[in-house]
Symmetry: C2
Subunit: 198 residues, 2 copies
Amino acid sequence: MPKLGMEPIRKDALVKATITEIGRTGSLDVTVSQIAKRAGMSSALAHHYFGSKEDMFLAAMRHIMTIYGAEVRGALGVAQTPMARIEAIVVASFSAANFRREAVGAWLNFWVLAQTVPQAKRLVAVYQRRLKSNLLVGLRPLAGARAEAIAEGLGALIDGLYLREVLRPGAPDGAAAAQMARDYLAAHLAATSLDING
Amino acid sequence: MPKLGMEPIRKDALVKATITEIGRTGSLDVTVSQIAKRAGMSSALAHHYFGSKEDMFLAAMRHIMTIYGAEVRGALGVAQTPMARIEAIVVASFSAANFRREAVGAWLNFWVLAQTVPQAKRLVAVYQRRLKSNLLVGLRPLAGARAEAIAEGLGALIDGLYLREVLRPGAPDGAAAAQMARDYLAAHLAATSLDING
DNA sequence: TTTTTTGTTGATTGACGAGTCAATAAACTT
DNA sequence: AAGTTTATTGACTCGTCAATCAACAAAAAA
């Protein structure tokens, strides 16, 4: 019963299944069969649509980054002030869609993949660049010359919070993580203004 | 030519080789043969001393944590003030021995391993607990009620800096990373005192 | 000096898994 | 209607690798 136009549907299912399986098992040692099974098809079909397992991984990475990017863009669209821009990024970073177990677990594994696969490394680099530049737009008016360092630090903190989330027991607490990022920011901005005034 | 008393020597060589190989390849997909070869012996011998590959991984984790712990303890021993205690931890965290490529790459992979292997998870938990409690001793006199949150944040930042180091091109720059941690701290302490005074 | 313990490895087993292939079938084209 | 493209899978190939085994050597113990 070959319905035509299956390709995008199947690819999409595979991408989601890839994220789910990596997140679930907490490892890149997932078999194509596992992924295909979760996506409701044979492993041969998975290989038919994606040439290789690596391609599936890369597509899954792109998917996660796409969701993240879209959410950030959306929030940024309605931000009026520099502070609101940063807040938007923080909130998006720890939103339910992005900070869910699966995605975070997968994200960590993609980071590992980036050590091996140049293509994956490039994707992570894109993410880092985008994050930093987004933060800088908001930070420069608020922190001037310090914006650079603060953005770098906040980026590392966000990644660190993701990293730790992976091993935290219980449900993800995006609100707490976001608060931590906010505190970081508040402390740095307070310190900066203190420096300017005194 | 069986010299006696080889066991500790072999085990040590295997542990170091494990870290090197994981760090070098950036993945847990290293074969026992690879590790054994680097350690200068047959894979059968590696299996003889460690029952399984997993045991080698766990021993390697313990080794990394031991080095880290020793360095922190050493630095802490000579720290006189709360501030010096924190500084000691920061410096140790980004010391040449701990912040070297291999070790950082291995550390990331161990984090992934912790998602799968309970024993590994426990080791990471030990590390996190120890780091936090060490930080708190120094932090409490300086930040009072905020010490808890600051310690948590600083821990996450340190882990995040490790995470990012993995993908940074060029030689590790422990000094820059340490400075970032110091900035975090300075900003938070400044904010805290500001809050107290005003 | 026999026996046991420790060190050591080449060869083998057994499992698993990525990727390919051949075959089947339903649509679409001409 | 014949030919082509798209969808789909079971079976298979081929390689890899953790773990085990059988065997050998040398030191230590009995």
